[in-house]
């Protein structure tokens, strides 16, 4: 089956079975590295992207269910040369060890800041409660989100 999806502002035609989890389309058809396979069960958040403005576990949404909702991935936020304030804040705070969960952390923080531009630490921790990190970078991640929230323009 062919589907049109909008990812990071561009339309793409992809051919895959309707039940294909969006994650594999993003990674393998579009060559994006941001969303990661972590569990395939919607438990860890490593695969998160914004779909229609909502934080979505791309391992658990089928291609046929994406519809016209615009998809934003980590790559859609910023680049190596021009990182998004959240990405820059993660670098400034050195808020990662292995970095495998960072995609989900940054995407979850993005959707948090979109609805609450000045979250408290408790709100940040709450928004990230279902995003798993195993290296123990949690406190730096909270600091990075706080730092990004203090940026004047986002």
């Amino acid at each position: 089956m062919s589907y049109w999806i909008t990812v990071n502002g561009e339309s793409h035609e992809v051919t895959a079975a309707p039940e294909t989890p969006l994650l594999y389309v993003l990674r393998n058809d579009l060559g994006l590295n941001g969303p990661k396979f972590g569990c395939g069960l919607g438990q860890c958040g490593a695969c998160a992207a914004s779909v229609g403005g909502k934080l979505t576990r791309t391992c658990s949404i089928a291609l046929r269910d994406v519809g016209n909702d615009p998809i934003i991935t980590l790559e859609g936020l910023g680049t190596l040369q021009r990182p998004h304030p959240l990405q820059k804040a993660f670098i400034d705070e050195q808020a990662a060890q292995c970095g495998y969960c960072s995609n989900g952390m940054i995407m979850a923080a993005k959707t948090l800041l979109d609805r609450n531009s000045k979250p408290s630490d408790e709100e940040i921790r709450g928004a990230l409660a279902d995003q798993l990190c195993r290296c123990g970078s949690h406190n730096r991640i909270v600091s990075a989100v706080r730092r990004a929230a203090m940026e004047p323009v986002r």
């Binding site: 895959a16 079975a17 039940e19 294909t20 989890p21 594999y24 990674r27 393998n28 060559g31 994006l32 590295n33 941001g34 990661k36 396979f37 972590g38 569990c39 395939g40 069960l41 438990q43 860890c44 490593a46 991935t73 980590l74 790559e75 936020l77 910023g78 680049t79 190596l80 990182p83 990405q87 993660f90 670098i91 050195q94 990662a96 060890q97 292995c98 970095g99 495998y100 969960c101 960072s102 995609n103 940054i106 408790e122 940040i124 921790r125 709450g126 990230l128 409660a129 995003q131 798993l132 990190c133 195993r134 290296c135 123990g136 970078s137 949690h138 406190n139 730096r140 991640i141 909270v142």
Partner: protein, 741 residues
């Protein structure tokens, strides 16, 4: 600057501590090397194998160490930039790669800065020394009159030559054996080492640049998945190959003995085919009888064991008679690495040569074992390190590499990416072994320990690939013509494996420490961060508090009274001061504070940790609002990087102590996803306050040492808060409620 010819003694001192080698057979050849050569240099003496000056005026530094998320490439780049006197931005790091890098065996044991850093330091000093000598010849002046500024050598009269010019001129100038003729810089002269430098790999990882083995895409690459048995010991009886082959996209179904895998053109097709293959597979009823996880302590003691005395003192004197004797037993559960991304590898058999991209900790040892399984020469296999998800020890990285290789062998010329599914990772990656500990001690009338007896029961924590007498790769044991596991080695003290940190750092006039290395292995084990240190320090430091209480002494004072090493005392005092330790202060039934100390591996970093707890007596949930650590790492290469490592160890230790245990019934592992194996989440993570001691002594690795004392201090804090002691990890709400009822 000036070039120096150091005395042998100076050289030994400046190169830092040279650690004894592990008693792994493959490492025994190092035993012949002179004692002042960094471990990593001994089998890799060629200068061009470490550092090359490139035509584009950059410097390539090769390391056999792997970036595991610990920031080692950044720290090594700092060391190289420092010794060479070139800009940090000129350094290009090449991580472990059997086709072109030095063989430094494994990246483990918090040794990369100590050993790998020692080698890069020596190589950097050598390059700089040779370039200085070349410049001195060119300018006709002694080296003492030359200065090095950012990759350029300047003479007193203003003449100058860049490193790259000089290297181009003298072919062979930077080739040949490292002579160790140039002394590295003195720590007091460091400009880059000791500074908090941002990790060189993070910007890419945080913006979606291809960074991980999972991100490798090769032309024509296919995706593969494995189907593992339902439990240890089950044999493959039948499966429906034709039906799976007929599924969309499937290019190969690979079976060999009990090994079963499938490859397809698209990843979701491979996953669906794996499900179909698993559903069609019939397995024998064979099983390995697993221990009763509800009573691990007696269960472990029932297994066959080889007893090794690993520490002894004062045994010629009789045990003091009138002393007051106490004893207690402790345990910890089997632990999962639980990395966020399941293990993954890419393998490609091309023109008879097998190349594997892997997040292994030991590219060279893995290469050897892969070659054995494939019946290839070592030179016909290459392993290239690529980052994976977090690595806390011997996880599934090596196993999945063999899985990928077995599939790649079946589809010559086609690159194969194989990632484990979440249940593969939780059920089949090696676990950190469960441990049982028993301590008995006697207190003299002056309140000092006069006798100490310690027993620890544990499987080997050292079952990595690359050891003699077998092949330690999961699929190798499942092949039609199977390979045997290597016999469990015992790593001698002071490192130890299950007995790591079993010998206390305290002054004990009479002691005996016995390691009961378990020979039956019902559950698959491997190396998990700190090996046995986590369990041993939990037992020793819990018992130190029990003894202090019996002696009517304060926990801090009791420890200080039994320590002689000033660096040990200093971290304890610093942690207590920062935490606001109040001697004699009672817990209130809910809140409490605990203290613990550990000198990691007995010769590594020093750490003292104070943990605050808040116990919900109704739900049995222990909250940890705050952790304070004082750490002495010797000379710190990258302070922020070191802090990041200490923090990670602390969070992991709180998680281990409160939550983590591999679950199983008597036949199979039952914790197979995140609902069955929970780790600490954001709302549960404590605030962390770090005191880094300022020292210029040789660097001591920071990767592990914060973990053991944190779990122990947490147990002590619970006992302080409630007056009840939990001697089994994890301290689950059920155990908390049972102890308070």
């Amino acid at each position: 600057m000036s070039a120096l010819r150091p005395s042998r003694r100076q050289l030994t001192r400046s190169l830092g501590v040279v650690l004894a080698t592990f008693a792994l057979p493959s490492l025994s050849a190092f035993g012949q090397a002179p004692g002042n050569v960094p471990f990593s240099l001994r089998n890799n003496r060629k200068l061009e194998g470490w550092i090359r000056l490139e035509a584009d005026e950059t410097v390539t530094v090769f390391t056999g160490k792997a970036e595991l998320g610990q920031g080692i490439l950044t720290a090594l780049a700092q060391i190289a930039a420092e010794e060479l006197d070139v800009g940090f931005d000129k350094i290009r790091m090449v991580s472990a790669d059997t086709s072109r890098g030095p063989d430094e065996q494994y990246t483990f044991g918090s040794q990369s800065v100590e050993q790998g850093g020692g080698a890069v330091r020596a190589a950097g000093a050598e390059v700089r020394g040779r370039l200085l000598a070349a410049a001195a010849r060119r300018f006709g002046v002694p080296t003492e009159q030359l200065q090095v500024r950012n990759g350029t050598i300047v003479a007193a009269d203003g003449r100058r030559a860049s490193f790259w010019e000089l290297a181009n001129e003298g072919a062979g100038l930077l080739k040949g054996d490292i002579a160790l003729a140039t002394a590295p810089k003195k720590p007091g002269d460091y400009a880059i080492v000791g500074k908090s430098v941002h990790r060189i790999d993070l910007p890419g990882k945080l913006t979606g640049a291809p960074s991980y083995v999972q991100d490798i895409r090769l032309p024509g690459m296919v995706f593969a998945r494995v189907v593992r048995p339902p439990r240890y010991g089950a044999k493959l009886v039948a499966f429906d190959e034709a039906a799976v082959r007929a599924r969309p996209g499937v290019v190969a179904v690979v079976s060999d003995g009990n090994f079963l895998a499938v490859a397809a053109g698209r990843e979701e097709q491979a996953i669906a085919a794996r499900d179909a293959l698993a559903a069609s597979a019939r397995w024998s009823d064979d099983a390995v009888e697993l221990p009763d996880m509800a009573s691990l302590r007696p269960e472990l003691k029932k297994l066959r064991a080889e007893t090794i005395v690993v520490g002894t003192a004062g045994q010629s004197e009789p045990a003091p008679g009138e002393a007051r004797r106490l004893s207690a037993e402790y345990s910890r559960a089997y632990l999962s690495h639980a990395a966020i991304g399941p293990s993954c590898a890419v393998a490609w058999l091309k023109d008879g040569h097998m190349t594997v991209w892997s997040h292994t900790q030991g590219a060279f040892p893995l290469r050897g074992d892969l070659a054995k399984v494939l019946s290839l020469q070592t030179g016909e296999v290459d392993v290239v390190h690529m980052s994976g998800a977090g690595c806390y020890g011997h996880n599934g990285a090596d196993d999945v590499a063999l899985d990928a290789v077995l599939v790649a062998r079946a589809v010559p010329g086609v690159p194969v990416k194989l990632q484990w599914m979440r249940d593969d990772e939780f059920a089949w990656a090696p676990f950190g072994p469960a441990m049982a500990m028993k301590v008995e001690a006697a207190l003299g009338s002056d309140g000092r320990i006069v006798d100490w007896s310690y027993d620890v029961w544990s499987n080997s924590h050292a079952m990595r690939p690359g050891q003699a007498g077998g092949v330690n790769l999961l699929a190798a044991w499942d092949l039609k013509t199977p390979f045997v596991k290597s016999p469990a080695p015992h790593i001698p003290q002071p490192f130890g494996d299950g007995d790591r940190n079993a010998v206390p750092s305290y002054e004990l006039p009479r002691k005996e420490i016995r390691y009961h290395l378990l020979l039956d292995t019902p559950v698959r084990n491997g190396s998990f961060r700190t090996l046995g240190s986590h369990g041993n320090i939990f037992a020793i430091e819990s018992f130190m508090d029990e003894l202090a209480q019996a002696a009517g002494s304060d926990s801090l004072a009791f420890r200080l009274a039994h320590l002689r090493d000033p660096r040990a005392k200093a971290v304890l005092q610093a942690a207590a001061d920062r935490a606001g330790w109040t001697p004699g202060k009672e817990g209130d039934g809910q809140r409490g504070r605990g203290l613990a100390f550990c000198r990691y591996k007995s010769i590594g970093m020093y750490a003292a940790v104070a943990v605050d707890v808040d116990v919900d007596r109704k739900t049995g949930v222990i909250k940890v609002p705050r952790v304070v650590i004082a750490a002495d790492l010797g000379l710190v290469v990258n302070p922020d990087g070191a802090k990041n490592q200490l923090e990670g160890g602390i969070v992991q230790a709180v998680s281990l102590a409160l939550k983590e245990q591999v679950a199983f019934d008597r036949r199979q592992i039952t914790s197979r996803d995140w609902s069955g194996y929970s780790v600490l989440t954001f709302p549960e993570v404590p605030s962390i306050d770090i005191v880094l001691m300022q020292r210029s002594d040789p660097s001591l690795g920071a990767g592990e040492g914060s973990l053991p004392p944190t779990s122990a201090a947490l147990a002590n804090a619970f006992a302080h808060a409630t007056g009840r002691r939990l001697r089994e990890l994890p301290m689950t709400p059920e155990r908390v409620k049972a102890s308070l009822s």
